[in-house]
Symmetry: C2
DNA sequence: TTGTAAGCGTTATCAT
DNA sequence: ATGATAACGCTTACAA
């Protein structure tokens, strides 16, 4: 099939180990031989076989990353953070989708394990708690990024945004600018972040002495249609809320759209706050106030954690001595409130 | 390190080949032995080593997909089309980013080749013409999806949207609803699609007997900021255009945003048409009229083409007899005009 | 029905 | 400075 070091060896009249050494720039090989072999390799379009190499080296120099879907704008930025850090350490990222289905997620991880990735990062995991036992003994470090299931046990490494704090931040902002009747559209109610952001919302209300009213709190999906549906519920509520905190920006954008169609003047008739700060938030009309997650940085952190964990294992790592990670590590980062037009005063 | 068939063999008191056969459900193995081995494998958390297997089998059951960046919403849908088709044929997708840099693209393909992917799909390639020679002899089929460079030579396989026709469609629509002074913001001028969409624009103008005026045609980047900049140019133009056709939806969305800030009433003061139909197009205010690319289907087609090409190679394929592909195949699909609010009459 | 041995393309450990 | 040889984990003739 493909040209191998043996093919080169044959043509160069040397042994295949000489070729291997020449190509890895070993000082043992005579300069003349080396350059001759390298020229030959180039001419023959030689490409080293990463599988064979990894088999004997004991590592693949790859990280597996499980995402719900690449179509999610939150995912895209996180992946870029991971990829940037990975390639800076000469690691290759292998992406796998879970479609937000626990079964698919498991299949994806299993597939990555078969590929012998050196480490796995799972975003928005539905089965986070399983990994402690599951992969702990297979010695493949697993890092959770915004775990959506209950927190794992003993063997757990994760990076996540402080959802509760973020929910609090968003709601407090609405209270600060004068709102008292504040609605909330949640995300998928089984997911941890939905619960936490809701908890933050309640915390902020309580802090301001505003009674929690279940009548203006609805379940959602995290998708634009949930926002559209929520608007109808909101219009029917009595008294009608003057502000609404949405589980995420996708929901908020759907709501913005529906509010526009309903002829509401935003933010005058209704103030809206989202969560995530996806690229489109700034482009929406009105531009969306939101709690920004440091998505890129979170991806970086997760990858850094994976790198550290890999160093603890069989083969030593190359880089400078990374801090030793022991037992459980849960890296919690804070969201940042970004005030735009959808709350606050209208431009022009 | 990881548990291998030899480890299982040792514990089961059989040879490693018996284990191999048992796990691949060979009819040669006694049922009792088989189930005993399989149970053991499960208990030991055995995971087959895809690298070792692929080494002897001669194929990895993977496709490499090169994209500019996962952050591009067009990319996301295309990748999903590819992935769906791939996994239906039990292929795994390995994603690599090029950042729209020819050098990175080459590096990505080189990396995928080292991983011995069975086939490569390159989206928005900057160096499409190179692949004919480059990988033709390495026997790895390459499929181009919306090639951004000049068309490749003898050994070329591609799927692409008819950019010229799409540009024509968009412009004709604006003409049909009564516009005569129509501006255009292009994409990166070196890329083929920019040129083609512009050509379509000119074609439509010519068809309606409208003179082409370079004064209302500007270069862009394909990003929202290009749309924002274009609005200023548009406002300064004399006579001021009443409509504008944008290279893509990202550009159009940026322009929508700027127009909103400038206090323009859309589509009354300015009609806008984009290209791509990204998910956000329908959510924008006003909802964006655009030329929809069948992104998912294009991904499917590219993957189907890759599957067909792989069948022609060393190892026979599994599925039903796919049509034989010979020499050059260029699959051109037509975009579809989706009329929304940003052209045509205002809702309510 | 099972075991033995060869080989996939590397790197690494011995010799020479 | 270079060549044999073993090993990585697997599949697959070929033997038994």
């Amino acid at each position: 099939m493909s040209v191998s070091i043996k093919d080169i060896a044959r043509l160069a009249g040397v042994s295949h180990s000489t070729v291997s050494r020449a190509l890895s720039d070993s000082p043992l090989i005579r300069a003349e031989t080396k350059s001759r072999i390298r020229r030959l390799a180039r001419e023959m379009c030689y490409s080293p076989d990463a599988r064979a190499r990894s088999l004997v080296m004991g590592r693949t120099q790859t990280v597996g990353v499980v995402v719900t879907t690449v179509a999610d704008p939150w995912v895209a930025e996180v992946v870029q953070g991971i990829e940037t850090t990975a390639s800076a350490h000469s690691y290759t990222v292998i992406l796998a989708s879970s479609d937000d289905e626990p079964e698919h997620e498991l299949a994806a991880v299993e597939m990555l394990r078969s590929m012998r990735v050196d480490s796995v990062i799972v975003t928005s995991s539905r089965i986070g708690a399983l990994y402690g036992e599951y992969l702990g003994r297979s010695h493949v470090p697993v890092v959770l990024l915004n775990n959506h299931s209950e927190q794992g046990g003993a063997h757990s490494f994760s990076v996540r945004v402080d959802d509760r704090h973020g929910g609090c931040l968003a709601t407090e902002h609405l209270i600060t600018i004068g709102h008292r009747r504040i609605a909330h559209v949640g995300g998928p109610s089984a997911h941890l972040p939905s619960l936490e952001r809701l908890a933050g919302y309640r915390l902020a209300l309580a802090g301001a002495g505003i009674a929690f009213d279940p009548a203006v709190v609805w379940d959602g999906t995290g998708l634009p249609d949930a926002g559209e549906r929520a608007l109808n519920l909101l219009l029917a509520a009595d008294p009608r809320p003057t502000a609404i905190f949405c589980y995420n920006d996708m929901t908020a954008v759907g709501l913005l759209r529906a509010a526009h169609d309903a002829g509401l003047a935003l933010p005058g008739d209704l103030a809206v706050v989202g969560f995530d700060d996806i690229p489109f938030a700034a482009l929406a009309c009105p531009a969306l106030t939101t709690v920004a997650q440091p998505k890129f940085a979170m991806g970086q952190q997760a990858m850094d954690m994976a790198l550290t964990l890999m160093c603890r294992r069989p083969h030593e790592c190359d880089g400078a001595g990374a801090p030793q990670v022991t037992g459980v590590t849960d890296n919690v980062v804070q969201g940042r409130l970004v005030v735009r037009e959808s709350s606050g005063t209208r431009r022009r």
